[in-house]
Structures are given as structure tokens and as C-alpha cells.
């Protein structure tokens, strides 16, 4: 029976299912236990699973991720939470130099089945050091997978897939999505993930232009598509879901149908995922189908301002996608 729930609750359900279904799974991070997580994602899990498996840690991001790496090497399935994705920078050595490389450097003998969950993105008035979208940073590193669910169902399904993946996965949740409601079906089977990491998906069919997006920008792209439909513009929306590995095939196929492409992400444009998506399209024969120059939509190239109105101006909104689409259609 399909139901609706929130993105945060869907994550909570996935965590509970994973903890219940596999003794190798444990969760640790700052304020994840007694407090239930800064955004309530792990609410109630400490009471249910005890403090060995839902572990409140000191403020020690380096140790949270580094110890997660160590535990993962033994075959445990740690899920570590970094309270804001901005703080992952305090754990870049264990993440970039260790987690991403140990399978390779140990000659393939060891796996690092670690999941790093972290809320990212702006729009909450949390200013420059609590609002970044750092996915392109992580995606640049060979050995890491980077997942950014947009929908409630994907929050649940992709988290299970991330935990079941034998490689380190950076799982980036968007703070503004936590309270969004959406269609949801829980699965009792946390052994066999429904979703697959590295699969993008057409979530709205259209014929005039393709928008490729992920995380909250997928939601904004769907809103933009509705508005554009009123103007007679029929937009196809592809939710990339994971940016590393990037599943470019559906984007190429869509562009071969529509001939026009807009890529949207909340991170600033320079050296971002958008550039990678565009390159992935033009490096194929989809190039021959392009009828107009492509456009990237992203944040302005500045840190996130504290003032609400400036923050809104810096973050790409639904209207910015609408404008970009209209420009591409016109050109």
C-alpha cells in the first residue's frame, strides 16, 4: 500500500531497517544518539538499538570518518554522519587519502564499505560555512561514489544501496528536502537494494528540451517543467541521482530526442558536475543532435551570504531554470 512520508523519515526508516537487518551496520556521529541528529534523521534509533550501534561521538570529524574506515576494513558496515557536509573538510585525509584509495593500495584485498552521510546545500540561513554543495569535490576523486537523492523514495532506497555497496559512498542529503513529503514504500528487504547506485532516471517525459539535475534541483526542475508546460514548452527531466559514477546514457538518449540541454545544480558552476554532464553529452554522437548551445544553471560564484535575500539570489531557484530553458529554446 503506497503511502507518503518525509525525506527525513524515509532515511530514518532505512537506517532502522539496516540496523535491524544486519548486525554489521552501526551509526556514529555528532548528536546522532540522544539528540536524534541535528535534523532528526536518527530520531529514536538510540533507544531501539543501544549506544554501541548508535554512537554519539565527540566533535572529531577526522576520527569519525577515520574510525569508520578502520571498522569498514574489517567487514563492518559503518554509517557515519557528518553534521553538516561543510565539516567533511576536517576529515579529508581519511576520506580522500584513505577511504578512496585503500582498496587499490591493498592490492584489492580489502574493501571499505563505508557510508558518509552529510546534509548539504543552502537555503536555511546558515551562512558560508554551513551551506555548501561540495559534491564536485568528492566526485573528482577516483574511488569514491557520490549519491544525492532528490525524492523521498530515493532517500530510502539509495541509502540501502549505499550501505550494501562494497565501496566508500558519500551520501549527500539536502537540508531543505528533509521536510518534503513524497510517495513512499518501505521495503523489509535491506539485503537486496531496490535502487542501484550509478543509474540516472527520466522522471518526467518531454520532447522540447532535456533538464539534467540532481538533489533539490531535480525538484526545482520539475516545478520549472510545470511552469514551462503552461507556455507550451514540453520539458524532459532526468534525475541523475548519483554524480559518481555518472550515468550519462539516459542524458545522451534524451538529448538525441529533444536536441536541447540544460544542466542544473545548486553548487557554483565553475568546474562543477554540470561541466562533466555537458562533456559526457558532447563526447558522444549526441553532439550531432544539439539544436542550440547548452546552458548550465548553478549558484553564483561566491560563498553563501548570511542575509536571506542575498542567499536566495545566490542559490539557483526554479525561476532561473525557467529562464535558462527559455533562452535555450529561443536560441
Amino acid at each position: 500500500m503506497p503511502e507518503t512520508t518525509t525525506y527525513a523519515k524515509a532515511l530514518n526508516t532505512a537506517l532502522a531497517g539496516l540496523l535491524a537487518g544486519d548486525e554489521r551496520v552501526f551509526l556514529m556521529g555528532e548528536d546522532v544518539g540522544v539528540y536524534g541528529g541535528a535534523f532528526g534523521v536518527s530520531d529514536g534509533l538510540l533507544d531501539r538499538f543501544g549506544e554501541d550501534r548508535v554512537r554519539d561521538t565527540p566533535i572529531s570529524e577526522d576520527a569519525i570518518v577515520g574510525a569508520g574506515v578502520g571498522a569498514a576494513l574489517t567487514g563492518m558496515l559503518p554509517i557515519v554522519e557528518i553534521q553538516f557536509s561543510d565539516f567533511v573538510v576536517n576529515a579529508m585525509d581519511p576520506l580522500i587519502n584513505q577511504a578512496a584509495k585503500l582498496h587499490f593500495m591493498y592490492g584489492g584485498r580489502a574493501n571499505v564499505p563505508l557510508v558518509i552521510r552529510a546534509p548539504g546545500g543552502g537555503g536555511t540561513g546558515a551562512a558560508a560555512q554551513h551551506s555548501q554543495s561540495l559534491e564536485a569535490w568528492f566526485a573528482h576523486i577516483p574511488g569514491l561514489k557520490v549519491v544525492l537523492p532528490a525524492t523521498v523514495q530515493d532517500a530510502h532506497d539509495l541509502l540501502i544501496a549505499a550501505v550494501r555497496d562494497p565501496n566508500p559512498v558519500v551520501f549527500l542529503e539536502h537540508k531543505l528536502l528533509y521536510k518534503t513529503e513524497g510517495h513512499f514504500e518501505a521495503t523489509d528487504d535491506v539485503e537486496n537494494p531496490v535502487a542501484k547506485i550509478g543509474e540516472s532516471r527520466v522522471i518526467r517525459h518531454g520532447s522540447d528540451l532535456t533538464i539534467a539535475a540532481y538533489s533539490i534541483m531535480t525538484i526545482r526542475a520539475l516545478q520549472a517543467a510545470e511552469q514551462l508546460a503552461d507556455d507550451g514548452i514540453d520539458v524532459e527531466v532526468i534525475d541523475l541521482r548519483t554524480v559518481r559514477p555518472l550515468d550519462i546514457g539516459p542524458v545522451r538518449e534524451s538529448v538525441m530526442k529533444t536536441g536541447r540541454l540544460v544542466v542544473a545544480h545548486e553548487a557554483p558552476i565553475p568546474v562543477g558536475v554540470g561541466a562533466e554532464v555537458v562533456a559526457g553529452v558532447v563526447e558522444s554522437n549526441a553532439l550531432d543532435y544539439l539544436l542550440a548551445p547548452v546552458r548550465r544553471v548553478g549558484a553564483m560564484d561566491v560563498p553563501m551570504p548570511y542575509a536571506k535575500d542575498l542567499e536566495q539570489a545566490v542559490i539557483p531557484q526554479t525561476g532561473d531554470i525557467v529562464d535558462a530553458v527559455k533562452e535555450v529554446i529561443k536560441s
Partner: protein, 339 residues
């Protein structure tokens, strides 16, 4: 634990400052509390963004600033407005920063105070660099860095302490142990018996003081500062205090501590004991209390008025803040933002 003034206002040691100076420091604590309560009230009215209160920690902050020279650096956190103000950072700029305006992070010229650190612990190493620069430049100044008990779990704490110690930089590390790292109590953060004892590992002095005792804090910081200036390197001071309020206005302490846990700490209120001491010395009475409180209220009304009268940040500000000269692509984005 060093204590000079008991919660009852009795002396159990030698006061580091005379009565006249104590009156002035007590007035500063009154002003600091007025700022803090105003901050909480304004946030509830939607006039400030997130606010991190320091009620209960006034003695640790005002006491730490008291022995500092005019040029001494203060490198502190989002919970240290009183400390920053006491070293010259104006209330209106502190409010402005919390209104959500980066210009609140620009101290006036000649105020040796860095804007508050928002991430936990990253600023301690800055203090080491400031102090090292002061040594290289032959300047008679120290850097005092303030942080919470939670920050001592960060790698930055270890690296800052170790650097400062091996380079003998003129630093004072002031840990305001207020009992919590957001929801995590002090005893769940470290097995060390005290935070001060961690200094042993770095080969520097570590002192634990009653952080709600103005005199104990002044005394410890005075000694640490003199030692730093004499070339003997850093000192770690643990000021034991208590965060009477929430971590920030985004937090609900009921989820991790009993409602009545703060009660005994109310009895150890740093303002109450300073007042008792001054009243016993015939240097303070009901009348002076009322006058000081009224003055503090007026000061805060004026400060928020000034902050709110500051014209809203134009989009220009965001782009101008990026590089010494604005590159063409930002000039273009500025044009778009103005529309």
C-alpha cells in the same frame, strides 16, 4: 581548582584587582548579560538569525579580557561576544553579524579581535600564527584564543597546543568548559580527569579555575599572559562554567539534559557572587544595580538600533568581498544579481 571568590561572595584568596576595578568588571558583566538576553529575545522576534547564548559564562569572558593589553589578540567563537566586546569589538557590530550581515565580521581598525569562528576549533591555530607573527615582529602582545570543551576533541586543538608549545608562541588557550558539546556531556567527550590536565602532554602549564569566579579567571589569565610575554610559551586554562541556555536558538536542551540540571548553576551565577562581594565591601547597592541594569538595557537598545539602521547589504557586497579586484565573470554575475 582555583577559586578566589566563593558563590556566597566570600574571599578565599587574594583578589587580583581592587574594588574599584571590580565594580567596573561587574558592570561589564551586567552589560554582557543584557546583550545576551537581548540577543535571545531578538531572535525569538525574528530579528536575529541563529543565536548562541553565553548566559552563565560572563565571568569567564569578562575576566579573561580584563588582564589583556590593548594590542593583545582575541580569537574566539560564536559564543564569545562578551570577550570580544571587552577587547573592543562594538556591540552593534556583534548584533549586525547575527542579523545576517557579513559586515558584522569587520572589526573597526585597531581592534585586535578576529570575527567569531563559526566552525568548531579551526580558529585555535590562527591564534598560534598571530602570536608567532608578534614574536617575529618583536611586538609586545599575546594572542588569547577561546573555545569550548567540545573543541578539545578536534584535531585542531592538539595541533594548536603542540605548535604553540614547541615554538614558545605567546598564546593563552582559554577553554570555557560549559559542560556540553551541543548534546554531548563533558564526561562523554574525554576520559581526562580535567581538560587542564591535557596541558601536561604538551609540556606547558595547565590550570583549572572556577570559571564563574571573576577573580580566579582574572588571576589565571594575568599569570598566563605574563608568562607568554616573558617567552615561556603558552598556558592552557580551563574555566569550569555552565551553559545555562541552549546550544543555540535552533536547539532544545530538554532532549539531552534534565530541566532542573541548570538550577544549582543558577546559585553559582557569576554575577550574583560578584555583586555579593561588592555589596559586602560597601561598593554596590540596590541603587547602583538598578542604574547599571538600566544603562545596559539602553546600551543594547541603541546597539540593535544601530545594527538595524545599517542599510541592507546590496548584492554588490557579496561580489566585492571575493577578490581584491573583481574578475570579469563576477562583474557579469553582479549585473545579473542587481536585476
Amino acid at each position: 581548582m582555583l577559586q578566589i571568590l566563593t558563590p556566597e561572595g566570600d574571599l578565599v584568596g587574594e583578589p587580583p584587582v581592587d574594588v574599584e576595578r571590580t565594580v567596573s568588571l561587574y558592570q561589564q558583566m551586567i552589560e554582557a548579560r543584557a546583550y545576551d538576553r537581548k540577543g535571545m529575545a531578538l531572535q525569538k522576534q525574528g530579528r536575529l538569525a541563529t543565536y548562541a547564548p553565553f548566559e552563565g559564562q560572563e565571568a569567564a569572558q569578562i575576566g579573561a579580557a580584563a588582564p589583556l593589553g590593548d594590542d593583545d589578540w582575541v580569537v574566539a567563537t560564536y559564543r564569545d561576544a562578551a570577550l570580544m566586546w571587552a577587547q573592543g569589538y562594538p556591540w552593534e557590530l556583534l548584533f549586525l553579524g547575527r542579523v545576517g550581515d557579513e559586515r558584522g565580521g569587520s572589526p573597526p581598525d585597531h581592534v585586535p579581535v578576529l570575527p567569531p569562528s563559526i566552525t568548531v576549533g579551526g580558529h585555535m591555530v590562527h591564534a598560534v600564527g598571530l602570536a608567532w607573527a608578534a614574536r617575529l615582529l618583536g611586538e609586545e602582545r599575546i594572542a588569547l584564543t577561546s573555545f569550548g570543551d567540545g573543541a578539545t576533541s578536534e584535531g585542531d586543538f592538539h595541533e594548536a597546543m603542540n605548535f604553540a608549545a614547541v615554538f614558545d608562541t605567546p598564546c593563552v588557550f582559554l577553554c570555557q568548559n560549559n559542560g556540553y558539546a551541543i548534546s554531548l556531556p563533558r564526561e562523554a567527550q574525554t576520559r581526562s580527569e580535567t581538560i587542564a590536565i591535557k596541558a601536561d602532554a604538551y609540556g606547558v602549564p595547565g590550570v583549572q579555575v572556577d570559571g564563574n569566579d571573576l577573580f580566579a579567571v582574572v588571576s589565571a589569565v594575568t599569570t598566563a599572559r605574563q608568562s607568554a610575554l616573558a617567552g615561556a610559551g603558552p598556558t592552557l586554562i580551563e574555566a569550569v562554567t555552565y551553559r545555562l541556555g541552549p546550544h543555540t536558538t535552533a536547539d532544545d536542551p530538554k532532549r539531552y539534559r534534565p530541566d532542573d540540571e541548570p538550577d544549582p548553576w543558577r546559585e553559582r551565577d557569576p554575577l550574583v557572587r560578584a555583586r555579593r562581594y561588592l555589596e559586602a565591601a560597601d561598593a554596590w547597592d540596590e541603587e547602583s544595580e538598578r542604574a547599571a541594569t538600566d544603562r545596559a538595557t539602553e546600551t543594547m537598545d541603541r546597539a540593535i538600533e544601530l545594527a538595524e539602521a545599517t542599510p541592507d547589504t546590496a548584492p554588490d557586497h557579496v561580489f566585492e568581498g571575493m577578490f581584491a579586484e573583481m574578475p570579469p565573470h563576477l562583474r557579469q554575475q553582479l549585473g545579473e544579481a542587481r536585476r
